[in-house]
């Protein structure tokens, strides 16, 4: 059932490896996005809430990209995006939003707030390789 398929390695290697923070309250989706990113050689840290994401970002400024689910309890991905863009330390970090719902208003609001991209779930490896060129 398994097949051999290396990622396209756009996450880099060694010291130049791109570190992605993935935020999603769904354990299934966290495992999914982590695997997709790792197969493209990104270094991945996952958290299950916006609050934990901000805590981690406060401690570890070596995050190169944030990819977050939109719809989460307590803090949505949009709210997380705003907090990141409002912070002088964090605002340069590209933020990608994922959502299972194709709502144009939502997409526009996120892009207007400075989101790098908006991915529809379920996320596929081809969606992530699309991000590759934008992040470097």
């Amino acid at each position: 059932m398994s097949s051999s398929r290396g990622g396209n390695g756009c996450g880099g290697e060694g010291e130049r490896q791109i570190h992605v923070l993935a935020v999603d309250d769904s354990s299934v989706d966290r495992a999914m996005i982590a695997r997709i990113l790792r197969s493209s050689k990104y270094r991945v840290t996952t958290v299950d809430s916006g609050k934990k994401a901000l805590e981690l970002l406060g401690l570890e400024p070596d995050v190169n990209m944030i990819i977050t689910d939109y719809w989460m309890p307590e803090m949505t991905g949009y709210e997380l995006l705003k907090r990141v863009k409002e912070s002088s330390e964090l605002r340069e970090i590209p933020v990608v939003i994922m959502s299972s719902e194709n709502v144009p208003n939502r997409i526009n609001r996120c892009l207007a707030e400075g989101a790098e991209d908006f991915l529809l779930k379920p996320v596929r490896p081809s969606d992530v390789s699309r991000l590759c060129s934008r992040i470097r």
Binding site: S3, S26, V28
Partner: protein, 157 residues
Amino acid sequence: MSLMALREQLNGLVNSMFLEGLLDDQFEQLQMLQDESSPGFIAELITLFCGDSERILAELTKLLDQAVVDYQKVDAFVHQLKGSSSSVGAQHVKLACVQFRQFCEEHNKEGLKGIYFFRCLRALNVVKHEYYLLRGKFDTMLQLEQRIQAYESKQQI
């Protein structure tokens, strides 16, 4: 059973699940993501999905059992289940969730609350039915996969 026979059984099972529509092409994405560097990926995802689903189904059962049903909470849980079933390619479960959500949205219609409640209950039963059907096949799939991987690692010694 020989390794080849096990593989044939597994492929046969997975193919039949695709044909019946239990799985959609998102599951193919999972298959492509599993390789030598991540041999347990499908098993991990299926296990997470099943754990999540059963937790959500229990919550939904409780919520629909209340004297006054909180449809917002019901909808939120169904949305979660729809999301995870979509991510693993569990097509029938996903479609059952879509239907369920439609009934949730309609529940406010004047004078027809009873009917919509009944439809929600029925929709939940459909989701449960689809989920447990899938669960049984996933269990077989993982058992076969385990046996195959055990065989393969023995061969490498």
